[in-house]
Amino acid sequence: MSLLRLADIGVRAAGHSILDLPELDVEEGEIHVVLGPTGAGKSTLLRVMNLLQRPERGAIFWRRERIPWPAPLALRRRMAMVFQSPLLFSGSVLDNVAYGLKIRGERGARALAKAEAMLRRIHIDHAAHQRAATLSGGEAQRTAIARAMVLEPDLLLLDEPLAALDEPIREHLLEELRQIVRERRITCVYVTHEQAEAFALADRISILDAGKLLQTGTPEEVFYRPKGRAVAEFLKTGNILAGEVVARDGSLARVRVGGRTFWASSDLPPASRVLACIRPEEIHLTRNGDAGTNRLDGTVTALLQGGATVKVEIDCGFPVLVLVTRRTVRELDLRRGERVGLAFAPVIVHLIPDDETRRMAASP
């Protein structure tokens, strides 16, 4: 069931469109991650959801009821937001966490008891009586999360809450956040530009770019079946190859790219102009023999070392990027200028109808 629904929302600033959303639905109990690059309008979206910013256009619905403006305080109190920066108030950690309870009229002792329990849950109780200004970055963000969680909101909004933290702390806090949100069944909208965070948390992901919603779906759908070039590029699909469907065989489509052909799982008809998306980590490299339905060969043009993995650029008549382990490079004795075989299953080739190319071809 829908908890919060945005319909035909438009936000403009200084003559530019910041947000233009025909529809965005947050389902009760889900963790909905909004993934997009910096400047995509993600923070504006959260402010609109939190009823802190009135959109120029559109309507917001709470459990199917349209929210009037100014939004009733009682409704705002069913939500809470955590920002990228902890934004802690002066006073102790405990004062901070109890703040939202106190303004809701909870008595002092009761509010403090709840706040203490939340601090214990989020493992920051040792600092309860410490001044908030003296906390480390990780502790401060834990406090900020506790301050929002203690309110037991129906909708928790998180605006890149881990972006300012260093790697190990970030990973730990992400996992704890996931556990707490799950155990309390809090509906969550989590905004980030980090793919790893998005895929670690999300029940559903919405991709936002330049104020527009490009795709909403489960992590699997969005990751393996991006709807357009922008989503594929943002998700670092690696190989986005312009081509054409030349034949069909049952559930498979034969695609021609740069004079070579391969099979893809798709129901697009012949003569369709397409973008074939192949993730670089799904392609296998071979020296001899074939593996799988699709087999191409090409010349290694570059080997880009990247720690545990190596990016291999191969010219197959069109450039293909393959991601392999360091061990594979050694075992296959890959070198620049040498021939190598590429094998990949049709199911890992995702075809997107290429409207852009079709439009360009159609125009005189």
């Binding site: 402010r47 939190n50 802190l52 305080l73 705002r76 109190r77 939500m79 809470a80 937001m81 920002f83 920066s85 934004l87 108030f89 002066s90 703040y99 939202g100 303004i103 809701r104 301050r147 929002a148 309110l151 909004l157």
Partner: protein
């Protein structure tokens, strides 16, 4: 006996009158600064948080008001309260009420300006954070005041300091009437004019001591808050 010792003795001999002058100084400036805080803090918050046409003009006016010459304020309030002025019917000219009013006009822009700067000095997202935790507008403003309280104590100190030590406005609208509207600064002017410099110096020293005492108190409050 040196002239200063003589002056101290004579000022102390007239300590009943001195106490009256001191009490009136404190009452007038105290009431004025309380009123200035009551007006200036909400005005400063409003100017800091709201965007509306004419806001920039208002902010410029407040900044100009922070340097208003007290004697000009005195003249302005005098013209308003004079028998033939728009508020002549109130008949408060040459009473402590007129003095309080003039000092409110002097202190309010100072308090407003410092509050405005203090609230704008906070991270703008603090405002959103407070609202997003479910605060009403009033609760949000109160929290912002709490967050900016160090600067607001500075506003209180600046406001009080500017009016306890001013002479131009209280002289014009109060008239320096003995036993009625005479305060420390106007008493010093009077003693100086009469050539009783020693008495003027003693009164000046008492005023200085009083100002120092209050500033020490404000600083103590401010630093205690910080700790």
């Amino acid at each position: 006996m040196t002239p200063i010792a003589e002056a101290v003795r004579s000022v102390l001999a007239a300590r009943g009158e001195l106490a009256g002058i001191l009490a009136l100084s404190l009452l007038v400036s105290g009431a004025a600064v309380v009123a200035a805080m009551a007006l200036g803090v909400p005005a400063g918050i409003f100017l800091a948080l709201r965007r509306f046409p004419g806001r920039r003009v208002l902010v410029t006016l407040v900044n100009t008001g922070m340097g208003l010459p007290p004697v000009v304020v005195g003249l302005f309030v005098f013209l308003l309260l004079a028998r033939s002025g728009p508020f002549g019917a109130l008949e408060i000219l040459y009473t402590p009420w007129a003095m309080v009013l003039a000092q409110i006009v002097i202190a309010t822009p100072l308090v407003t300006g410092i509050t405005l700067a203090a609230i704008q000095g906070l991270d703008p997202r603090v405002h959103l954070q407070i609202l997003s935790l479910g605060a009403s507008r009033l609760q949000c403003h109160w929290k912002l005041v709490q967050e900016a309280r160090l600067s607001l104590v500075a506003a209180l100190a600046a406001g009080f300091g500017s009016i306890i030590s001013e002479v131009g406005a209280v002289m014009i609208v109060g008239g320096n009437i003995r036993g009625q509207t005479r305060v420390m600064t106007t008493a010093i002017v009077l003693e100086t004019r009469q050539g009783d410099f020693a008495a003027a110096v003693v009164l000046g020293a008492i005023l200085l001591l009083l100002t120092m005492l209050f500033n020490w108190l404000f600083t103590w409050i401010q630093q205690r808050q910080k700790g």
